[in-house]
């Protein structure tokens, strides 16, 4: 089956939130159970950031025990490195898939660790944006899809330094086409990329196959001064950049297969996050996504 056929089987998850091991324990962190109770329209699912060596924390297990929907966001695989798909890691992933029963797998398609997967080696860097790497990334996505039996949606990673001869959106268009898959488009990461390269927020978006966008992330970003240079940090605060809202607004009418939107604000209290949730819903009102939610 082609992606266009497979995507019709994916559930419509609506607006949701993300977490990773220990995030809920941070001071003032978002209480997903409380969010679900008070604003179920903003807690349609939980995106679980997972490093296989750390596993699932208590709040995530409680969410799953209640039978609520999840997606599995990997945090520890370099998709373009065949040697990274080792037996013990794949076995662990399959175990977590069985436990979470996620609607799909997703995660940043970049460098999650240097050297072998090991303690102290973890980081997150964007891929080298070349045609060669797009092919290698696509092969990894196909492999993980076959190994887990779930859709695998690559996500555009954040970064401060981007190298290669392709625009990030052109790179991911090639990845999606070659893996015949959908995309998790992180609007905040895209905004950071466009700023870093001196582009306008929507540069390249008109040429991207937006019907491949299955999931979108929205998150805040903060400014930092580096030796007199202002750089943007993907800090997951509720302070969303105007560029990110502009990208979400441009996606809304054209992302016909959009199934899920995450507001990444896991370490912030609910009152601080509510305006962001509400603006996401307002921006997507009347879009194919909103019509899918209504069904």
């Amino acid at each position: 089956m082609t992606f266009a056929q497979r995507v019709q089987r994916l559930p419509h998850l609506g607006i949701g939130v993300s977490t990773e091991y220990g995030a809920a324990g941070s001071p003032g962190a978002l209480d997903v159970a409380d969010l679900r109770q008070k604003h179920p329209e903003f807690a349609g699912f939980l995106e679980v950031g997972l490093e296989t060596t750390k596993g699932l924390d208590g709040p995530t297990r409680a969410w799953r025990a209640a039978g609520l929907p999840t997606t599995y966001h990997f945090l520890d695989v370099n998709l373009d490195e065949p040697e990274d798909f080792d037996g013990p890691w794949l076995e662990a992933v399959r175990g977590f898939v069985a436990e979470l029963e996620p609607a799909w797998l997703c995660g940043d398609a970049g460098l999650w660790h240097f050297g072998p997967r090991d303690r102290g080696h973890m980081l997150l860097l964007p891929p080298i944006l070349t045609d060669e790497v797009a092919t290698a990334m696509a092969e990894g996505i196909i492999r993980l899809r076959e190994e887990t039996g779930r859709e695998v949606l690559p996500e555009n990673p954040p970064g401060h330094v981007f190298l290669g001869d392709l625009h990030l959106l052109d790179f991911f268009a090639r990845v999606c086409e070659r893996a015949d898959t959908g995309l998790l488009l992180d609007a905040a990461h895209l905004a950071l990329y466009q700023r870093a390269l001196g582009h306008a927020p929507l540069t390249g978006l008109d040429a991207f196959p937006l019907e491949r966008v299955v999931e979108v992330h929205v998150a805040g970003a903060g400014e930092a001064d580096v030796q007199g240079l202002t750089v943007l940090e993907d800090d997951h605060t509720p302070a969303v950049l105007p560029d990110t809202w502009q990208i979400l607004g441009a996606l809304a009418p054209a992302a016909t297969e959009l199934r899920a939107v995450v507001f990444e604000c896991e370490r912030n209290a609910l009152p601080a996050c509510l305006p962001g949730f509400e603006r996401i819903a307002a921006t997507l009102a009347g879009s194919p996504f909103a019509r899918g939610s209504a069904r």
Binding site: G115, R119, H160, V161
Partner: protein, 277 residues
């Protein structure tokens, strides 16, 4: 041209401002030994140079992770040269080689510490690197075959006499710091027990846990010798360890029973040393 090689250069530059300066001054010269093309070198110097320093905590996080495993060796090295002398690892050829060759960083750091600092650092680095290797050893699969080898989760080291006792005392002293052992390692003012140098040697046997005990030099030599799997009927060359054929067979049987040796699968020779010793 290799994107993987280029990505590893990126990792190195993000950790090492000295490399960033060298690449921006003369990319061809600075990366002469790396598999990166002229086009890729041009990409490396295209961003505003300050972007490479956007995460000022990256190197400290890296050092923290390494000190978690090489705690006593790192603490003693800091007492000799300060934190900056240990942090210098991230600008050392050993760091750059490890990243470029896709090697684990902890063993590279251990070797660098041993080569860069005076006793007792080398002995503690050897012990803590052995613990790190034991911790990462692959879980036992089937142990039935005609080959015999040292079990991958077993490590043995020969170090100056008194190393184990001193290491235990220093670890205990590091835990007394109100901010924890890592803070103690970095705090050169935090007192550590003195270590007396000894010319005599002691053998250490490291098992998962870690459980560490002393052993004879002959056992260390035997376990090192049997890192490479060999057929059970090819143990005759252990005479230089002071064992005749019968004694060797008896000892091997005992060590198999104790779990220090095992029967690896026939194709497992390459997986035994997951981390370079």
């Amino acid at each position: 041209m290799s994107a993987a090689a280029l990505q590893r250069v990126v990792v190195r530059m993000l950790h090492d401002p000295a490399l960033v300066a060298a690449v921006y001054a003369d990319a061809e010269g600075a990366l002469a030994s790396d598999d990166v093309s002229p086009t890729e070198r041009a990409w490396l110097v295209a961003p505003d140079r300050r972007r490479w320093a956007a995460d000022p905590m990256r190197r400290y996080r890296g050092l923290q992770a390494l000190l978690e495993e090489l705690l006593v060796a790192g603490a003693c090295a800091i007492r000799q040269g300060g934190v900056a002398a240990v942090d210098a690892f991230f600008s050392a050829p050993a760091f750059h080689r490890a990243i470029q060759d896709r090697q684990a960083l902890a063993p590279a750091f251990a070797r660098w510490l041993a080569a860069s600092f005076a006793p007792p650092v080398p002995a503690f680095a050897a012990l803590e690197a052995a613990i790190a290797r034991s911790r990462r050893a692959p879980l036992p699969s089937s142990s039935a075959g005609s080959l015999i080898a040292t079990a991958p989760w077993i490590e043995a080291e020969q170090v100056p006499e008194g190393t184990l006792a001193a290491w235990q005392h220093i670890r205990a002293a590091l835990t007394m710091h109100p901010a924890g052992p890592l803070a103690a390692a970095a705090d050169a003012a935090h007192p550590l027990p003195a270590v007396r140098a000894s010319a005599a040697l002691e053998g250490l046997l490291i098992e998962p846990g870690p459980a560490i005990g002393t052993c004879g030099a002959e056992l260390v030599a035997l376990l090192h010798r049997l890192r490479a799997p060999r057929a059970a009927d090819a143990l005759g060359d252990l005479a230089d360890l002071g064992l005749d054929a019968d004694e060797a067979a008896e000892l091997v049987a005992e060590l198999l029973m104790d779990g220090l040796l095992w029967h690896p699968p026939a194709d497992s020779g390459s997986q035994i040393l997951d981390l370079p010793a």
